[in-house]
């Protein structure tokens, strides 16, 4: 049985790099920060470097405190509501900013991102496809 999905957006990434890295623009009121983030289906949350949140004018520690567990330990983040854009699609979500200033990784995870899209991946070609979900074009799923 064939399954069909349709996507409004596509973007290319360097399949030779570790991780699937896409451009993200974070926004809060009139402030905006451009950065790159890795799409990570294994991450519960969207997590960004503390400096990005500070550039948006956020008081990081004023957010909702959350512990994230890793294979080797854990780290603390603070959740804040921000807007962000990926491949031309805009989202508003509760995303995490790391407490540790040395934490420099940005991740697009499940809560706030994956739960709001249909995602297609052809790693062989370095292509990622995105569509908003729910979306009229996918109501037949």
């Amino acid at each position: 049985m064939a399954h069909r999905l349709s996507f409004s957006e596509s973007l290319s990434y360097d399949a030779g790099n570790p991780g699937i890295t896409v451009a993200v623009t974070l926004r809060l009121d009139r402030a905006q920060v451009d950065c790159e983030a890795k799409v990570d289906t294994g991450a519960s949350l969207c997590v960004f470097a503390r400096s990005h949140g500070e550039q948006l004018g956020l008081d990081i520690a004023d957010g909702l405190r959350q512990v994230i567990g890793t294979v080797t330990g854990s780290f603390v983040v603070y959740l804040h509501e921000v807007d962000f854009t990926v491949a031309g699609l805009e989202f508003s979500a509760f995303v995490a900013f790391a407490e540790d200033e040395t934490f420099q990784r940005n991740v697009l995870g499940r809560r706030g991102f994956l739960e709001q899209v249909t995602l297609g991946l052809v790693d062989y070609e370095g292509k990622l496809y995105l569509n908003r979900y729910p979306d009229d074009t996918n109501t037949g799923l």
Binding site: S8, E9, S10, G19, D29, K38, D40, T41, G42, A43, S44, L45, V47, D62, G63, L64, Q66, V67, I68, G69, T70, V71, S74, F75, V77, L79, H80, E81, D83, A87, G88, L89, E90, F91, S92, A93, F94, A96, R105, V107, G109, R111, G112, E115, Q116, R132, P134
Partner: protein, 122 residues
């Protein structure tokens, strides 16, 4: 207004025929011409709050902090800072909010107070 809706539908129908890159360019040009502070500006997928202010965000954050023990581990849908729906999934909360006549409700997962979130493979 029917005339406006019909016109918008027609424009959207034509825009959907464009190649992805052309659609992106069209969207970027339209965004450039229409500031985010305009009436409908800045609306984002699934979270259509008109003129969302820092105060609303602040109230929402405070609501989430103060109701973490009660609703933690679930998705909540907030209209401003007022709870309109709770669900075990994003979909359930979203659909309940739609049924409640709040299509622009902010839907988010609220972690339990002692919850440890998963970190992926990076």
């Amino acid at each position: 207004m029917t005339f406006m809706s019909t016109t918008l539908d027609e424009v959207l129908r034509e825009a959907r025929k464009l190649a992805p890159d052309e659609r992106r360019e069209l969207a970027e040009r339209l965004l450039e011409e229409s500031p985010r502070s305009a009436t409908d500006g800045g609306k984002t997928h699934g979270q259509k709050d008109d003129g969302l202010s820092a105060d609303v965000r602040r109230q929402r954050l405070e609501w989430l902090k103060s109701h973490r023990a009660e609703y933690g581990g679930q998705h909540v849908a907030l209209d401003g800072a007022a709870l309109v729906a709770v669900g075990q999934s994003y979909r359930e909360a979203k659909e309940k909010a739609l049924s409640a006549g709040k299509p622009g409700a902010f839907v988010t997962y609220l972690p339990k107070p002692d919850e440890v979130a998963e970190w992926g493979g990076w």
